[in-house]
């Protein structure tokens, strides 16, 4: 048990120094299993060493109590969490408050990358089939955090409170798959009215609502001509040029009616 805690501490410290994931793969399968379970159950290292020790001990006690079902835990990272039906309840539970406090879930997550500038896109996904990657993103590392459109408190953590824009994944550290799910959930929540939307002001002064135009009203009946009335009123007022008229009459003399 002591050796186990020692390994866990070592592992946790290694992560803190941002060692690459390939160190993990070189260990035996058994240790990898423990490590995977460690990712599932680890408590966050945000405070100083006494806090760390306390958390390591508590995590070891919890891991010992939950080690019998560890086999099914490590089989697939997609096992159904307790909060699958009501994901919003997790954000009020003691577990969540102890783990994250009042900060957003992505507050203490740090991406691992080479160099000073991180790649402008986070990884495509943290979980492929059974395998979970090293240093998973803030949503994938906690199976109780489920992205759902009714989970408004969680969605609010990924929206800027001042501008109302969804945070970029380079800022929060979530993988691209989870970011897409987040975008969809935020859009659905906004459509259902669970999240506030900023809408433009509608101006009514320029529109005419009489609905009398033929496009939207019943087609008016055709105008019937009274006797002697012309279809176009300007028909009657046009007079042809006298010389043109004489010329045309001379040309078609043989075909004109006798009285014209």
């Amino acid at each position: 048990m002591l050796f186990y805690t020692g390994c866990r501490l070592l592992f946790v410290v290694a992560i803190g120094q941002s060692f690459a994931c390939k160190h993990l793969n070189q260990h035996e399968g058994l240790f990898t299993r423990f490590v995977l379970q460690g990712i599932r159950d680890w408590k966050l290292i945000s405070s100083a060493a006494p806090g760390l020790k306390f958390r390591a001990l508590s995590s070891s006690s919890s891991s010992s109590s939950s080690s019998p079902p560890s086999a099914e835990n490590t089989e697939s990272p997609e096992t159904l969490s307790r909060y699958a039906d009501r994901p919003w309840e997790y954000l009020e539970s003691e577990e969540y408050i102890e783990r994250y406090g009042s900060k957003p879930v992505w507050a203490n997550y740090r991406r691992n990358h080479k160099g000073g500038v991180p790649p402008q896109q986070t990884r495509k996904t943290c979980i492929r089939g059974d395998k979970i990657c090293g240093n998973p993103c803030p949503i994938c590392r906690d199976p109780n955090i489920i992205v759902h459109y009714k989970n408004v408190n969680l969605l609010q953590q990924f929206i800027s409170p001042q501008t109302g824009i969804v945070h970029d994944p380079t800022r929060t550290g979530v993988c691209m798959k989870q970011q897409k799910l987040l975008n969809k959930a935020i859009e659905t929540a906004r459509d259902c009215g669970l999240l506030a939307v900023q809408l433009p002001h509608v101006d009514y002064s320029k529109e005419d609502y009489s609905n009398t135009h033929g496009a939207v009203a019943p087609t008016p009946a055709p105008v019937s001509l009274r006797s002697g009335e012309l279809w176009y009123s300007w028909y009657g007022s046009i007079k042809p040029d006298e010389r043109e008229l004489a010329r045309v009459k001379r040309i078609y003399k043989d075909y004109l009616k006798p009285d014209v």
Partner: protein
């Protein structure tokens, strides 16, 4: 003027033949009159009614210019003299008045059932409807021809819903969706009303629907009913929807809740104006007739209303008495 417009709209409703007044209708930005039965009663667009409604709505600059969530810019600081500050406040008030313009209350639009031609020989040629739209840019949307060729061969004008959808496809408006979002369903509305976000719902409604459509009126009605049921009148005060709420309640003869709320907040003048509006809209009611007979003004109007029409007469009279006793008689 009223008589002339009455006869004009009689002509329009019964002989609906020539749309001669194109120029006039374009200049006219107000609503069509209720031509059939209530042509002489007060309308929403009467100057006196609008005046009363704007005064009741109030002008709380802090609420109207609440900081909205948008792209942030660094703040600008200006050093101003007193006169410049007053000028700036005056400009802000004008802008606020423009923002508080009420959405129009219009009669429900009549459905379009106009078949232009029936061509039996086209039957069975297509399996889908074809929609032909006039997409000239300078045509107002209400004069745009949109026709539908059914698979059975009939060429008909598009219905109002189809028109709205097609116009949103070709000339998208900001914030409007092609299909109405699920916020307007009953269960979602209930959730939003519990969170006291009636103004957000109304903003969504105003952006999504046309003011003379059935859905617009339905959502407004549901919101007003909920507000009246729980007495949450203050949520809409100093927004552009308060006028519509007051009009809805006055037409339904249910201004007791609103009156009581105003009296509780010491808005005596607003209460008097509300009763005056009630008398204008229902001139045959007892309180209006008594007020007319006695030429009552100010608090006497309230007393007459409390005596004859109200269900909460006790509270209103008590409030009027306390006001008369505690405050010095002020000139309205």
């Amino acid at each position: 003027m009223a008589a002339f417009s009455f006869t004009r709209c009689l002509v329009r409703s019964y002989f609906c033949v020539k749309c001669v007044d194109h120029v006039q209708t374009r200049l006219q930005t107000t609503t069509r009159m209720f031509c059939v039965s209530t042509s002489r009663s007060t309308q929403f667009t009467d100057t006196e009614v609008q005046d009363i409604l704007t005064k009741i709505t109030g002008l709380d600059l802090k609420k109207v210019f609440q900081p909205i969530r948008q792209q942030l810019t660094p703040p600008k600081y200006k050093l101003m003299t007193d006169t410049e500050l007053e000028e700036a406040v005056r400009k802000a008030e004008e802008q606020a008045k423009h923002l508080l313009k009420m959405p129009p209350v219009l009669p429900e639009r009549k459905p379009i059932n106009d078949v232009l031609s029936e061509d039996q020989m086209l039957e069975g040629m297509n399996t889908a409807k074809y929609v032909f739209t006039d997409i000239n840019f300078n045509v107002p949307h209400r004069e745009r021809f949109i026709v539908v060729r059914e698979p059975s061969g009939t060429l008909r004008k598009a219905t109002w819903n189809e028109r709205d959808r097609i116009i949103q496809v070709y000339f998208p408006k900001e914030g409007r969706k092609i299909t109405p979002p699920p916020i307007f369903k009953e269960e979602n509305l209930r959730v939003v009303f519990e969170q006291d976000r009636h103004e957000d719902v109304l903003n969504q409604c105003v952006v999504q629907f046309e003011p003379d459509s059935a859905e617009f009126k339905n959502v407004l009605m549901l919101t007003y009913e909920d507000i009246e049921k729980h007495g949450k009148y203050d949520l809409l005060r100093s927004t552009r929807f308060f006028g519509g709420l007051a009009w809805h309640l006055v037409n339904g003869r249910r201004i007791d809740g609103l009156l009581v709320d105003m009296l509780q907040r010491d808005l005596m003048q607003d209460a008097v104006r509300l009763v005056r509006l009630f008398n204008l809209v229902h001139p045959q009611s007892e309180s209006a007739q008594h007020a007319q007979r006695q030429q009552a003004t100010d608090l006497n109007l309230l007393k007459i209303y409390a005596q004859y029409e109200s269900n909460r007469a006790g509270f209103i009279e008590l409030a009027v008495q306390t006001y008369e006793q505690t405050k010095a008689p002020s000139s309205f």
